[in-house]
């Protein structure tokens, strides 16, 4: 496989992130059945696919890296996780909620979402109900889908007020770093 085929992922710059949670709201809105303009129209608990971690001295959202050799995919006993067009995708109909993927993910990027019909309304990533679990509250694995159905790309990137989020193209990023390093070397040489 050539580096140009690397999967893409959203990465945050912890230096820029202020922890405002706007990305989580944007994510939920992008995955909600009907996107809400106002808070009052956002009926239900907000369920995003990325999670802002608030730690001492730093904040950053964490989401799926769509790993090339994804531990979650390797560990799944139900073959519910597959790679589709560079994305790591959970088939919620196959998922039994065993949580092995959650344990295997080095970023903790997999969250278990409540599957309706439950008592709790959800604003964001609702997992479609499956026949054998109909009528019962259960949980299914879910991860970032890079907003693959959204024409303008990931909603979290578009809404970040600090421009702290970026859709990373690893190969392009590497080439840029190469160029920067080469320039640095030239400058060092010139001094």
């Amino acid at each position: 496989m050539r580096a140009e085929n690397f999967s893409r992922f959203v990465q945050s710059d912890a230096e820029k992130c202020i922890g405002c949670r706007t990305c989580e709201l944007a994510c939920a809105s992008a995955h909600a059945e009907v996107a809400a303009l106002t808070a009052g129209a956002a009926v239900g608990r907000v369920i995003p696919r990325l999670f802002v971690m608030v730690g001492p001295g730093a904040t950053a959202p964490v989401q799926c890296h769509h790993c090339e050799d994804a531990p979650c995919r390797n560990v799944c006993q139900m073959s519910a996780i597959s790679r589709i067009a560079g994305r790591t995708v959970v088939d919620t109909a196959k998922c039994i909620g065993c949580k092995l993927c959650l344990m295997a993910c080095p970023f903790g990027a997999i969250e278990f979402l409540p599957q309706p019909p439950g008592t709790m309304p959800i604003y964001g990533s609702a997992v479609p109900p499956t026949a054998h679990w109909a009528g019962r509250q259960t949980f299914r694995a879910n991860n970032c889908d890079l907003c693959n159905t959204r024409a303008t790309g990931p909603a979290c990137v578009a809404s970040c007020p600090e421009k702290a989020l970026e859709l990373i193209d690893a190969a392009a990023s590497r080439r840029r770093r190469n160029a920067e390093a080469a320039l640095d070397l030239l400058q060092v040489g010139a001094e």
Binding site: L37, T38, A39
Partner: protein, 459 residues
């Protein structure tokens, strides 16, 4: 620490600083990354922070306080299903619901012009898609016995300020008249510019005038003891909640406005009571407080009040009418400041309409140092006036905020209004002559006038 009407929930706050960046009075406290709080003695209760805070109660985080306890802390009712945010204003829904359920109380409500404009947004409907008559029907269904339009109190507020402007122009002193209808600006002037409080118009804000009328004029018409009347004001504003609690805003020891509801809170009530807003048949406002056609949509966007007061002032100053006065406000180099210059019966009058407290500071400083050029200053704290008020439906994502406020402004419009004829309206004449027994501009009229106090260091 004494808490104000607007607060920051330290459990939900992530310390991102968005509130501090938007706060016009530097009332937020706390380091980046640490939970913030608000200094009540600096806070104007404008609710800018309420509008921009995105730190919601995440399902994936454990908080010491349960959601239902949090709702209770905020004066909200159980059953609310939308996300809760760190910056919030405290409500009075529980006592209001108790009053609605109490057969000995008559709960009456006055409804401001922006309510119908924005209420639908919290139901996923476009701005302006709910007719005012549908809001009346929803309020009636919630148990409000009488629902009144804002237009007569709005007209009285304009006339009282116009009279004050006319008098001060004739006396040639204490100019400018600073408009007093924005309670956040009034509190900020008391806090930060106490030397300017005598420039503030003594006229109460329109919703406080309405509250005083509901407990006197309207109670009398309905044959009710004022003590049995529970008066509610619905509008776009969080700072009205502070204003309604001022000791000056009482009559006979009772508040003129018992409860202030924001548009957001009205939406909560409608939802938790299971009312289908879009499916309601329109109903008319009650007429004990008569509507004054064409004046109820003032007080929506910046400049409305300036145009109204200048037009009304001219009719008070003119010996004979000479056609309608066109008031055109022009942008200036200063953000949020528009000005106009008109001729009022021999007086060359410059007026400024300012939106956004920070934009007002240079003009207030100029007044302080004797360099003022204006005769009238309209001062609204929120960035695009009341359509962007702290109690309006909260726009979820930052990129949608300005387009939504702009759309509300467009829909509010600036229709042609007959302010020059307002003083002659039968409802206005009747209330001054038969009820007050006092002329327009009489400051002993406690229903319409108030006083201000220096508030440095006072909550």
């Amino acid at each position: 620490m004494t808490e104000g009407v607007v607060q920051i929930d330290r459990e939900l706050c992530t310390g991102c600083g968005n509130c501090a960046a938007t706060c016009p009075s530097e009332a937020t406290q706390g380091e980046r990354g640490q939970a913030h709080s608000l200094a009540a003695e600096r806070c104007m209760n404008c609710g800018r922070c309420v509008q921009v805070c995105n730190a919601f109660d995440s399902l994936f985080q454990a908080y010491p306080t349960s959601r239902s306890a949090r709702l209770q802390q905020r004066g909200l009712v159980d059953g609310l299903q939308e996300p809760l945010f760190a910056a919030h204003d405290c409500g009075t829904l529980a006592p209001l619901q108790a009053a609605l359920a109490d057969s000995r109380r008559t709960v009456v409500v006055q409804c401001g012009p922006t309510v119908a404009l924005t209420l639908g947004e919290d139901f996923g409907l476009p701005s302006g898609s709910i007719a005012p008559g549908r809001v009346v029907a929803a309020l009636k269904k919630l148990g409000f016995r009488k629902v009144y339009s804002f237009s007569l109190p709005a007209t009285l507020a304009v006339l009282e300020e116009a009279q004050e402007l006319a008098e001060r122009l004739q006396a040639g002193r204490i100019l400018p008249v600073i408009n007093s209808s924005c309670p956040a600006s009034v509190k900020a002037i008391e806090q930060f510019y106490p030397e300017l409080i005598h420039y503030l118009a003594s006229a109460k804000s329109p919703h406080q005038m309405a509250g005083a009328l509901l407990k006197s004029y309207v109670a009398g018409k309905l044959g009710l003891d004022p003590a049995a009347v529970y008066s509610v004001s619905v509008g776009p504003c969080t700072s009205r909640k502070f204003e309604a609690n001022r000791p000056e805003m009482t009559s006979g020891g009772r508040p003129d406005v018992d409860a202030v509801l924001t548009v957001r809170e009205l939406a909560y009530l409608i939802k938790t009571c299971g009312i289908d807003l879009a499916g309601l048949a329109e109903e008319a406002f009650d007429d004990e407080l008569m509507a004054v056609a064409g004046t109820d949509d003032a007080y929506c966007v910046p400049g409305d009040i300036t145009a109204a007061v200048l037009q009304a002032a001219r009719s008070l100053l003119a010996t004979q009418p000479d056609g309608p006065l066109a008031v055109t406000l022009a942008d200036t180099a200063s953000e949020g400041v528009r000005t106009t210059s008109v001729r009022l019966n021999g007086f060359e009058v410059k007026a400024a309409a300012i939106a956004g407290w920070k934009n007002a500071v240079p003009i207030l400083e100029a007044i302080k140092s004797g360099k003022n050029e204006f005769a009238f200053v309209e001062l609204l704290t929120c960035p695009m006036g009341c359509v962007s008020g702290g109690g309006q439906p909260k726009v979820l994502l930052p990129q949608d905020r300005i387009p939504t406020y702009s759309e509300r402004t467009r829909l509010a419009g600036t229709g042609a209004r007959d302010w020059e004829g307002a003083a002659q309206h039968p409802a206005v004449q009747q209330i001054y002559r038969d009820f007050f027994g006092k002329a327009c501009g009489d400051k002993s009229n406690r229903a319409l006038h108030t006083q201000y106090q220096e508030r440095k260091g006072i909550v």
